[in-house]
């Protein structure tokens, strides 16, 4: 159900990635743009799920890549860039979350139902249902405390295993499992209560 590995950049060979990092470190702007492009989805997606708003997630992504640019000279190129970027993205989102609490997601009563005529109703209803489900689940995520939300986003949305999540969050695996377990139970209760499950 949960993918084993989410980051797009995992498809790059280690040699390729090291080459781009070295060139970017030497001041090659194009190489840095390649690094951004190869990691932008995972960074933006993480920010979006942690913060709940696309504009905030874009700001967080910008800050994440700027920090990469500043610290590239010190980055140990024998390590993978993905986990490092996750950690920075999580930290950036934490900082932003402290300054600006997560936005309240529209309640279900504020989401208008679309009346769909004719035989295309099924597809449209499906799209609406899917969209509503996304809203409900995103709202459920935002009700979690930051650490549980981070653990759930990294594990269940980004597809990292508990060991990787623990390294990124700077916690033990036992702590991460506890956060994941509690988070999943809370999401289940919220989604069931708000009709976000498609059975």
């Amino acid at each position: 159900m949960t993918p084993t590995k989410g980051p797009q950049a995992s498809s790059d060979t280690a040699v390729e990635a090291t080459g781009w990092i070295r060139r970017a470190r030497a001041g090659d702007g194009e190489a840095f743009a390649v690094l951004v492009e190869r990691h932008e989805r995972m960074v933006l997606r993480t920010g979006l799920r942690l913060l709940g708003r696309l504009d905030l997630a874009q700001d967080a992504a910008q800050e994440t890549f700027l920090r990469l640019h500043r610290y590239l000279a010190r980055f140990d190129e024998s390590r993978e860039l993905g986990p490092w970027l996750y950690r920075v993205a999580v930290n950036v989102c934490r900082d932003m979350g402290r300054r600006q609490p997560p936005t309240r997601v529209l309640g279900l009563d504020e989401v208008r139902d679309v009346e769909s005529p004719g035989s295309e109703a099924a597809a449209l209803d499906e799209a609406v249902t899917l969209d509503r489900q996304r809203q409900v689940v995103q709202a459920a995520l935002l009700t979690l405390p930051p650490k549980e939300r981070e653990a759930i986003v990294l594990r269940d949305i980004e597809g990292l295993n508990t060991s990787e999540v623990a390294r990124i969050l700077g916690s033990s695996e036992g702590t991460v499992r506890s956060q994941i377990s509690t988070g999943r139970l809370k999401i289940k209760r919220y989604v069931e209560a708000h009709g976000g499950l498609r059975r």
Binding site: M1, T2, P3, G6, G27, G29, F32, A33, V36, E37, E40, R41, V43, L44, R45, L48, R49, L54, Q58, D59, A61, Q62, F65, L66, H69, L130, Q133, R134, V136, V137, Q138, L141, I152, R155, D156, I157, E158, G159, T162, R177, S178, I180, S181, T182, R184, L185, I187, K188, V191, E192, G196, L197, R198, R199
Partner: protein, 238 residues
């Protein structure tokens, strides 16, 4: 009502995160507890809902905005100059520093070939020629009646000492001086200046053969009395 003891374990079991040592116990319990089986089903459904977020695509516009934000906030990349420009800049700096040092009135100038010393005056060469080559007349040093000095700042008349300090170019300098090669280059610069201003007839000595024409760089310094002229060779070096 589910068994609270198994709730947290089922929440891990649903995605395979339960430690292997605990799996047999949980699976055995599931066989005998319908409430826990319902809980597991509910967890599977909510995890599936969570997967909808995972699958939601990010628009290209949203990603393009991120790239634009990063590009706009990125500090400028260091400008890379071709190597020959570094050589020119280095040479320029070295010669300029040396010229400024020589122009200082307390420093005695090195010995310079007489041919490189020229002035519009009928008086003998009064001052350090290298200092003179890089000095401009200030208001304090207006031409004396006996000297007819053109006003063009690049003219030969600018080639004189800032102060009426007696110099004897035949006496070796008591202070650290330029190497013979550097001194020769400075002399060539002086010659080049004279050619630019077309005042050869004011020279008291014949000039060395005309070198192939190359650009001369004029540098104004913070001191209005000091202007540095530097001649580039054909290779763009010193």
């Amino acid at each position: 009502m589910t068994c609270s003891r198994y709730e947290s374990e089922l929440a891990l079991y649903v995605e395979g995160d339960l430690p292997a040592s605990l799996v047999p116990d949980v699976e055995g319990h599931l066989e005998s507890c319908p409430e826990c089986r319902d809980l597991l089903a509910g967890l599977q459904a909510s995890q599936e809902a969570l997967g909808v977020l995972r699958e939601e695509p990010l628009s290209e516009e949203a990603l393009a905005i991120v790239r634009a934000l990063v590009a706009s906030a990125q500090p400028a990349q260091p400008v890379r100059f071709p190597r020959w420009r570094w050589a020119v800049a280095t040479g320029l700096t070295t010669v300029a520093a040396a010229a400024v040092w020589l122009a200082m009135p307390t420093v005695r100038a090195p010995r310079i070939p007489a041919a490189a010393v020229h002035t519009a005056s009928s008086q003998p060469a009064p001052a350090s020629p290298t200092a003179a080559a890089f000095a401009k007349p200030s208001g304090r040093e207006a031409a004396t009646p006996s000297q007819s000095t053109p006003t063009n700042e690049a003219s030969v008349s600018t080639i004189r000492a800032r102060k009426p300090v007696s110099h004897d170019v035949s006496r070796p300098s008591a202070t650290p001086s330029l190497s013979p090669e550097d001194a020769d280059q400075l002399a060539r610069a002086v010659v080049a200046i004279s050619r630019i201003t077309n005042v050869q007839d004011a020279l008291r000595e014949p000039l060395p053969p005309d070198p192939s024409p190359t650009p001369v760089v004029r540098l104004a310094t913070a001191d209005p009395d000091i202007v540095i002229y530097w001649r580039l060779d054909s290779n763009g070096g010193e």
